[in-house]
Structure formats: C-alpha cells, structure tokens
Symmetry: C2
Subunit: 143 residues, 2 copies
C-alpha cells in the first residue's frame, strides 16, 4: 500500500500538534513506521548510522505521536506530535529555526517569466531551459 | 552548501503560511530551488515526469513563496507559501487530508517496550530486532 522509495524509506514530516510548527524531516522504513504506530513514540531510521532511533531516547526530547497521515501517492508520511523540548539536535526549537534562504523581492513573482529577473548564477541554465519547459505536460502531481 | 541527495534532489516540505497546514512534499534540484527563490513561484522537479513543474501553472492552484528555510543538515527545505485553491492534485485541501493511519490506543506509549503491545504483522520482525536496537548509539540526528 505504501510506496517506499530508495532504500525502502519514506520521508516523514514531523509537525508539532499544538503550534503547527514543522519540526524536522526524518526517514522511516516499514518497521520504523510500524513501531511508531504501535508505540506512539516517533521512531525513525537513521541513514547516517544505519539503525533505528526513537526520538528523545537519548536527549529526552521525545515526540508523542498524536496522528500519522500518508499523502495522496502514499510515499510520504506526516506525523502530528507533542514535542518535549527542542526538536533539533542542535538545540534549536525546530531543525529549520534561523535557517532562512534569501528570496527575490516580493514583486518578483509579478514577472511572467523567470527570465525577466534572472539570477546571474542561473542565467546560463535559463537559456538552456526556457521557462516553457517548466510547464507540466501531465496533470500536476506532488512528486 | 546544500546536501542534495539521490538524483541531486532535496525533499521540499510545503506549509501554508497563514494556517500552518502542511500541504504536500515535493522534490527540488538546485535549479528548481534557484527558480523558486528567484520567482517566488514554487517550482519542483517531477521525478515521475522527469521535468520541472511550476505549481499551479496548469491547475491555477499556485503557491506564492513567502519563505524558504533549510534544515540543520541542509538536506531538506521548508517552503512557507500562500496557497491558491486546493494544494493536492486530487482536489483535497492538502495531500494528507483524509489519509490517517490507525494508531495504537493513547496509553500504548506507556509501555516500556513495544513488545508489550505487538502488532501481529510486526511480531516476527520484533523478534529479529529487539527494541534495544532502536536506541541510538550516537547523538541524535534528524537523518
């Protein structure tokens, strides 16, 4: 039923149930998902260590799972959790806290084509790939 | 700086800026991210079609990007967007709407070991992989 990807893994998006904050993204195989559903303790597969880890088991910063949802093509899971303490192992509230990338000014999206406001580092690839190429040929899919 | 993964892609978690709803997960390569930052129009790489797609270009259900954040190990991006219409190509508000998986009863997380409340389909793998194996040997990492 679930469409596990490379290495038998699914991305798991983790959201704080009360605040709605996106806390982190981790990875689950079928067993990690089964353990999470069975115990309500968020359990992931560590790609770097090649083992299961129960969030908070060493840090105390646990995630009590309140809901697990799959997406429309069953290749991503969304966990709604009650987070204890900071979610990020760096100590920030979420893994995305204070890590914003620079965006073009708000009026940039008025341009009918990205070529109107090229970023110098991307101009060459714009020439090679006209904006028209960005139009999907089939109905949109999230992946 | 960014740690692109298999196929030169990063998972992109997409969150509605006003409601906090997690709308979908899509994939970006360096060019899709550059186009998104430059145009503020959420632009992804379709793994199924092998091409870039600008969200809403065919459906009209656009995503105006208000912020883009990377996570602590720079291998995931989080987009904060203003979503027009339903985010999912199936017509649901989000790709996760109405797709909840069954969880153990709330008191299941009181059990010291998952073996206390085994799911029959997972019992065999529990025998093969004791709960102790779920304890990380190194400091926790989100991936």
């Amino acid at each position: 039923m679930l469409a596990f990807g490379v290495g038998g893994l699914l991305p798991a998006v983790v959201q704080e149930a009360r605040t709605g904050e996106v806390l982190m993204l981790a990875w689950m195989d079928a067993e990690a998902l089964a353990r999470t559903l069975r115990t309500r303790r968020a359990t992931y597969w560590s790609r770097s260590r090649g083992e299961y880890w129960v969030k908070g088991e060493t840090s105390g910063h646990t995630q009590r799972v309140e809901a697990v949802r799959i997406d429309c093509d069953a290749d991503t899971v969304l966990l709604s959790v009650a987070q204890t303490g900071p979610a990020c192992h760096t100590g920030t509230a979420t893994c995305f806290t204070g890590r914003e990338l620079p965006l073009a000014p708000p009026d940039a999206d008025e341009a009918p084509s990205a070529d109107r406001a090229p970023a110098s580092h991307a101009a060459a690839s714009d020439d090679a790939a006209p904006e028209a190429a960005a139009e999907p040929a089939a109905p949109e899919e999230p992946a």
